[in-house]
Symmetry: C2
Subunit: 114 residues, 2 copies
C-alpha cells in the first residue's frame, strides 16, 4: 500500500506544482495573460518533449490551475490559460520568489546573518 499524502495543505499545494516544467509553464501563461496555443508553449520551452508537455498540462488542468479549450477546425487548435484560482497562486509564488532572491544573495555573501 502506498504511503498516503497527509492532509497538510502545504504538501498538497506543493505536490500540485511539482514537475520539471510546471513553473515554467505557469510563468509563461501568467506573463502573457491570454490563451496560449500548445505549439507556442512547445516553442517557448525548447527542450521539452510533446509527451512531457502534454503530461504536465494534463496535471495542471486536473488540479484546476489551468483551463484547456480545443477548437476542432481543419487545423486543430488547442489553447491553454490560467484559471482564476491558478492565477491567484501568484500571491504565494511572489513570496517564494522574494525569499529565494534574498536567500541567493545571502549565499553569495557567505551567509552573514542577513
Amino acid at each position: 500500500m502506498p504511503v498516503q499524502l497527509n492532509d497538510c495543505p502545504v504538501e498538497i499545494v506543493l505536490s500540485m506544482l511539482s514537475g520539471r516544467w510546471k513553473i515554467p509553464i505557469y510563468r509563461f501563461l501568467y506573463k502573457n495573460n491570454k490563451p496560449i496555443r500548445y505549439s507556442e508553449l512547445q516553442r517557448h520551452l525548447p527542450s521539452i518533449s510533446k509527451k512531457i508537455l502534454t503530461e504536465q498540462l494534463r496535471e495542471l488542468e486536473h488540479d484546476g490551475i489551468i483551463e484547456r479549450k480545443s477548437y476542432p477546425e481543419s487545423r486543430p487548435r488547442v489553447e491553454y490559460r490560467l484559471s482564476l484560482s491558478g492565477r491567484s497562486m501568484i500571491v504565494f509564488l511572489d513570496k517564494i520568489s522574494d525569499w529565494g532572491e534574498r536567500y541567493i544573495l545571502s549565499e553569495k555573501r557567505g551567509m552573514q546573518q542577513n
Copy 2:
C-alpha cells in the same frame, strides 16, 4: 548532459522543499522551536526509514534550512533545528497554506467562483 535547473528563484526554492518528508520535518522543528534529536524525529514520523530520514536531513542541512549539532558522548546524540533563514520560510509557507485551505474549500463546494 542533465537539463540544468534554470535560474528562476521559485524553482530553486521549490526544489529545496521537494522530498516526501521535508515539510513534515520542517513543521515538527518549527512547532517545537528548539533542538530536536534524531530519535525524536524518527518517533514522530513513524513510517520513515533511517536512510530516508538521514537523506532528507542532509539535504535540508545542505540547503541551509536546518542546522545539525552532534554531541559525541558515550551515548551519541545529534540535534537538529531550523536555521534563521529556514525559520523565515514561514512567511511564504503560511501563504501557501492559506491558499491551499481556500482551494480545498472551493473544491468541496464544487468550484463556484470562490
